[in-house]
Structures are given as C-alpha cells and as structure tokens.
Symmetry: C2
Subunit: 235 residues, 2 copies
C-alpha cells in the first residue's frame, strides 16, 4: 500500500526526476506529466508541446481520469519550466516570452486546475516561481513576467475562494539557481556553493506533504543557498 | 503636418476608440492595431485572433514597416484587454486564463516589442494593468495573473537595460472600473460615480505624450475615481 499519491508536473526535468525518485523511495505512488516519459514514475501523462493550452487541458484531464479514477492526490507539484533571456529589443523577445508563458504559466495553470479537481482536503500544490521576478528582470523579460504571474496565482489560489479543496494549501518555491546538470554545463565557472541542491528541494517537498514544517498558505518560499547551506525566506 | 505619431493597440475597443478620437482631435497621426478596423484611424493593422503569438508578431511587424517606413512613434499605447472571471475550480478556468493571456499579455508583449523598434527617444509606452491584481484575485484568477505579469513587465521595461530607446519611458495604468458601454450594460445597478471616464484617461495620455505631468519611469498609475473625481495614485 502506497504512502499516498503525488503528481509531478515536469517529472522528466532535472528537479522533477529527483522529486519522483525521492517520493518513490518514500513509498508514494508518483505520476509524471511531461513532454517525455519518466521511466520510473508510477504513471505517465505525455503532453504534446505543439498543442494549445485547451488541447493540453483536455488531454491531461482525460488521461488523469483513467489513471486516478476516484483516487485523490496528496500533492500536485509543478516544477515544469525553463529559462530564456532577452530584453524587449532582442530578436527573440516575443519567441522567448511565448516559450516562457507555455513552459511556466501554462503548466502552473494546468497544475492548479488539476489540484482543484483531484487534491485531497489538506493536500498541497507547489508551484515554481523565481526570486529574480520579485524585482525587474530587464535581461530576461519573458521569464520574469511569467514567474510574476505565478507568484500572483499562488496568492489567488491560497484565498479561501481560490477554488482549491477545503484545507488544501499552496506554496511557490522561488529558487535563485538550482544545481542542475544543465546549469553546470552552461555555467562551468559559477560558484556552485550558492546553488540549491535538487535533493534539498525534494526533501523539502516530502516534509510538506507529511504535514511537517509547512509554511503559511500562499507563501512564496525563497531558497537562499550560501556556502552549500540552504535557508528559506518567506515572502 | 501632424503633431506626431501614436500607435494604439486595441484601437477598436471602448478606451482605444476614445484615445484615437482624442489624439486625432489634437492633430496626431494615429495608427490602430486591433482585431477589427477603426474607421477613423490614420492606419489600421488587423490582427487575426486565431493566429499564434509568433504569427501575430510577424504580421504586425511586416505591416508596420509598410505603414511607418522610417518614421518613429511618440507613443505606443496598449489598451487591449478584456475580462473573464473564475477561480481554479471553474469549468472555464483554463479557457478564460488562455483568453486573458492572449488579450492582455500577448498584446502588451507585442506593444513592448514594437516600442523597442519604433519609439522615438523620449517617447512613451503605456500598458494596462489592474489595481485588483496588486492583491490576490481569487474570483478572476486568469485576469489577475495576466495583469500581474504586465505590472512586472512595466518594471523590467523601465530599467535602462530593458530594451526601450534612450530616454523612453513606460507606465501602466491600473484602472478599477472604466466607464465603458459594456460595463454599463453588464452592471446596470453599479455606482458609476466611482467609474473612471474614458475621456479622462485619453486626456491623461495626451498630457504624457506632450511631456506634461509624466510620472516616474516604470510607474504603476492607479486610477481612483470617487464622486466622479479621478485621482492618480502611483505604485
């Protein structure tokens, strides 16, 4: 018998894969939603990246009904997303903003909709914002505006009238830089002692799912890593 | 000879139409970008609402090159947008959020891109946020997150590295309720003495274009109307 059921949106990414492995090790059933299959997940829902937001919704909701039946989820964790830079004068400004809206906002909106239908009372939704987006982000405008949208979404969902089941809670994590293989590849000279380990984040999620050290509903939880030590600062 | 050139994104809407008529009366050349033609505008660029964001960008930029040639703009004013409600548990949550992203975020992003290419040094970009989105908006989640994205976009554009031409400025107006025919139709019992007249907003834009009473670059300008009197409160 499983410890409970978790859905990870972005389950094939670096953070998502770590989360799924960690939850599986704790005997949870873990479903993955992603563009690609996560081979160790308990179930997979593959999203077509060329589909519209409404087509993605229909696809996901239809498959979720098959996978979950009348079961409910202990957590919906959305760690989908990516990064693309550029200011308003960049050649790729509109293209990159489109990508950020799709990767971050669409996935967070779909995760919120899933949570409102499938979360247990007392369950949690976790979304992924960015500490940078608390301030202007001129060098990565599309990224910043998408993450700012997620921050405000978090506050709306936390409201008693936001649509989540009774007693459910929502938080967003606001990383600075996560210690992923891609970040190591593209920033080989960076000081990785200021990067947040994926394992730390996965353990944080497990605690929250187990009703341990939960922040206040609607919290934006900044992950501040210095000298390989991570602390949480709540906005 | 015209007083200058203005582009109104959303030029066929209630506020956009009022802005265009007001600028024309002041001898400006005024172009309109909208889903429908504005018959009094100096030029029209019609956007296909079924096109993707990138298709819309290509269409607009291609037509702008024909319409403007090497001329520059004194202002890009984006008053496109709409309203749709619903929390995360609403049947139309994802659909309405999709609509809000398209109507408000896409138009603001395209207006920002146009401004970075065509604005004169010292010109202005005006975007349209919402006072409500400074706080949680559980009853209209898609609307709130889209407007929050525009608020953050405003701050990024105002940064010296945001991509606008030298000396250009950006503001967002944050209305509560505008006194439009549609709002009168759908809220017949409301106290319209707390609604902001469209004419007030158009006159405000004209002042800003003429370098009068400009707020600080990056300001979110709340329009607070009480007893038919509107005051500005800057965030």
């Amino acid at each position: 018998m499983s410890a409970g059921k978790i859905l990870v949106y972005g389950g094939k990414g670096a953070l998502g894969s770590t989360c799924i492995a960690s939850f599986l090790a704790q005997k949870f059933w873990v479903g993955s939603i992603d563009l690609q299959q996560n081979d160790v997940a308990s179930a997979n829902i593959i999203v077509n990246c060329n589909a519209s937001l409404l087509e993605q919704e229909l696809e996901i909701i239809t498959k979720l009904e098959t996978v979950l039946g009348s079961d409910k989820l202990d957590a919906v964790i959305c760690v989908a997303g990516g990064w693309a830079g550029g200011n308003s004068n960049s050649n790729d400004f509109v293209k990159n903003t489109d990508l950020m809206l799709k990767q971050s906002v669409w996935s967070s909106v779909l995760a919120s909709s899933i949570a409102s239908k499938y979360l247990k009372p007392g369950g949690i939704v976790v979304l992924t914002g960015a500490k940078a987006a608390l301030n202007p982000t001129p060098g990565m405008i599309g990224y910043g505006l998408s993450k700012a949208a997620i921050h405000q979404l978090t506050k709306s969902l936390a409201d008693p009238n936001g649509g989540l089941p009774n007693g459910a809670q929502v938080y967003s994590i606001l990383p600075i830089t996560l210690d992923t293989p891609m970040n190591r590849k593209w920033m080989p000279e960076a000081d990785t002692s200021a990067w947040t380990p994926l394992d730390y984040v996965a353990k944080l999620f497990i605690k929250w799912v187990k009703f341990e050290e939960r922040p206040q509903n609607g919290s934006l939880v900044q992950l501040i890593t210095k000298n390989n030590e991570t602390t949480l600062e709540i906005v």
